[in-house]
């Protein structure tokens, strides 16, 4: 059975990414860590974890109302949710190690179950399984952004939080959460890839992760190790895309003069 050319092209690109991922993973396992540019937004998170261990106030972590693999594909924010899950797992691991309490919320049942699993695992891996409290992983709504936002504002009012990290898929409902947190003086770390929520995040907190930075956040929170391989792969792919864009731009400039065939789609 022969595959269509478009499929072969996609598969080839996929295989290149897989090869790069393997290569960078091996490189990091070999002890060659990437140099990282500072992400000041995550300093707020680390500082809050340190304070939480002393004050006993919980750190709130949320991937937003992101949904994991919505079957209809209409509002799936799976990749953002995976980023949020990984951050939640890392923060939970750090919290388990230093004794800072956490409170995790979500707005999707599948995300909720995934969070319960990943947070429990984080405590187990840290050797603090007895400290894991399933009641601290809360489902606030299901596929309803506004209901989720009101749930989080209620938590912010009731729980006396140390800080709030909201990294995942967010939309305009973020403003209800972020502004409420800002009015309460709650240190907030926010990040998403959506162009609707990003300006609102910048307005409500100085600690904002923009776009792709949410995928790098886990590697910054984790101790030096395999998680940092993703930074290398992201950088390599970004360099490739920039090279393609510049190459395409130059080609489009010289193509009419040299009588070359036009680029596909132009």
């Amino acid at each position: 059975m022969l595959l269509p050319p478009e499929t072969i092209l996609i598969l080839a690109a996929f295989l290149v990414v897989v090869a790069l991922t393997w290569l960078h993973h091996a490189r990091v396992l070999g002890g060659r860590f990437p140099s990282r540019r500072p992400l000041p937004a995550l300093d707020t998170l680390r500082a809050a974890l340190g304070r939480g261990a002393e004050t006993g106030q919980a750190m709130h972590i949320s991937p937003g109302a992101s949904s994991l693999g919505a079957a209809d594909g209409s509002r799936a924010t799976t990749a953002e949710l995976v980023a949020g899950l990984l951050v939640a797992e890392r923060v939970a691991a750090e919290a388990a190690l230093n004794g800072a309490p956490i409170l995790v919320s979500s707005g999707d049942v599948v995300a909720h179950l995934a969070l319960r699993g990943s947070v429990r695992q984080a405590y187990q891996v840290a050797g603090q399984a007895q400290d894991y409290d399933p009641a601290r992983v809360q489902l606030l709504a299901h596929h309803d952004d506004l209901a989720y936002a009101t749930g989080v504002t209620t938590l912010q009012g009731r729980e006396g939080l140390e800080a709030s990290a909201m990294i995942g898929g967010f939309g305009q409902e973020y403003l209800l959460i972020g502004e409420d947190g800002a009015q309460r003086g709650l240190p907030q770390v926010a990040g998403t890839t959506g162009s609707v929520a990003l300006p609102l995040m910048v307005l409500t907190t100085a600690s904002t992760l923009l776009g792709e930075e949410i995928y790098a956040a886990e590697a910054y929170i984790a101790p030096p190790g395999p998680a940092q391989a993703r930074l290398l792969t992201q950088d390599a792919l970004r360099t490739g895309v920039i090279a393609l864009l510049i190459g395409g731009f130059i080609y489009a400039l010289v193509q009419p003069a040299l009588g070359l065939p036009p680029l596909p789609g132009l």
Binding site: V109, L146, L176, Y215
Partner: protein, 220 residues
């Protein structure tokens, strides 16, 4: 490490193969991949439904415990439980008359659940959405007070867009064309840059999950 842990290896293989099948179908491979991928996506929908049941159990358990212990704001928990019961009762015990007898509503968008949403939930949600205008003003003022350059740019652009949409301003010569140019070249370029960066991050995150370097789905 995977080879020393058969349970983890099996989970990673299942996740990887399932992901690859759906990816091939998405890439237009067709043939046997299409029904396989559709089956996997259907399974995901079923698992989501089971997850919803578990989520309901979790929410009810947490709020019943809150009511029993008379914790602060327990009355809100009681309202939540009653509202949940009202929707379930409306959906199950007030079926619709159909050609072949009574039928249950198929979704939240049908009567009588729809009526409950329209008279109770939608006005509440609309009120919250209306608050966003005031919240955005308050957030903008605070951000300007903070002296954030990014926030100043956002507020300036928002103000510019609002002002240029006023009918007397929009009617001025060149305003519409300038705004269109800004939108088509400056805003769109920024949005595409954001999209490309996010897509690369998502691609790497997806590949790492598929090949088992990140396993947020696995029990250790």
């Amino acid at each position: 490490m995977l080879l020393r842990d058969p349970k983890r290896l099996l989970a990673v293989m299942i996740a990887g193969v399932a992901g690859l099948i759906v990816l091939l179908d998405f890439a237009g491979a067709g043939g046997a991949f299409a029904p396989l991928a559709r089956g996997l996506v259907d399974w995901a929908a079923v698992i989501t439904s089971i997850g919803l049941l578990l989520g309901i159990v979790s929410v009810v358990g947490a709020h019943v415990a809150r009511v029993r212990a008379r914790r602060p704001d327990w009355a809100y928990s009681l309202i939540l439980i009653l509202a949940m019961l009202a929707v379930i009762v409306a959906g199950i015990f007030f079926p619709l008359p159909g050609g072949g007898g009574f039928v249950l509503p198929r979704s939240l968008a049908e009567i009588p659940i729809r009526t409950l949403f329209r008279v109770v939930y939608e006005p509440l949600a609309s009120s919250l959405l209306a608050l966003l205008a005031f919240f955005s003003l308050s957030a903008a003022l605070r951000a300007l007070g903070r002296g954030s350059l990014e926030a100043a740019v956002i507020v300036a652009v928002a103000a510019l867009v609002l002002v240029t949409q006023l009918p007397p301003i929009a009617a001025l010569p060149g305003v519409g064309a300038t705004m269109q140019w800004l939108n088509d070249y400056v805003a769109l370029a920024g949005a595409r840059g954001l999209l490309l960066g996010a897509a690369i991050g998502a691609l790497v995150a997806g590949v790492r999950v598929l090949i088992g370097f990140d396993t947020p789905y696995i029990d250790r």
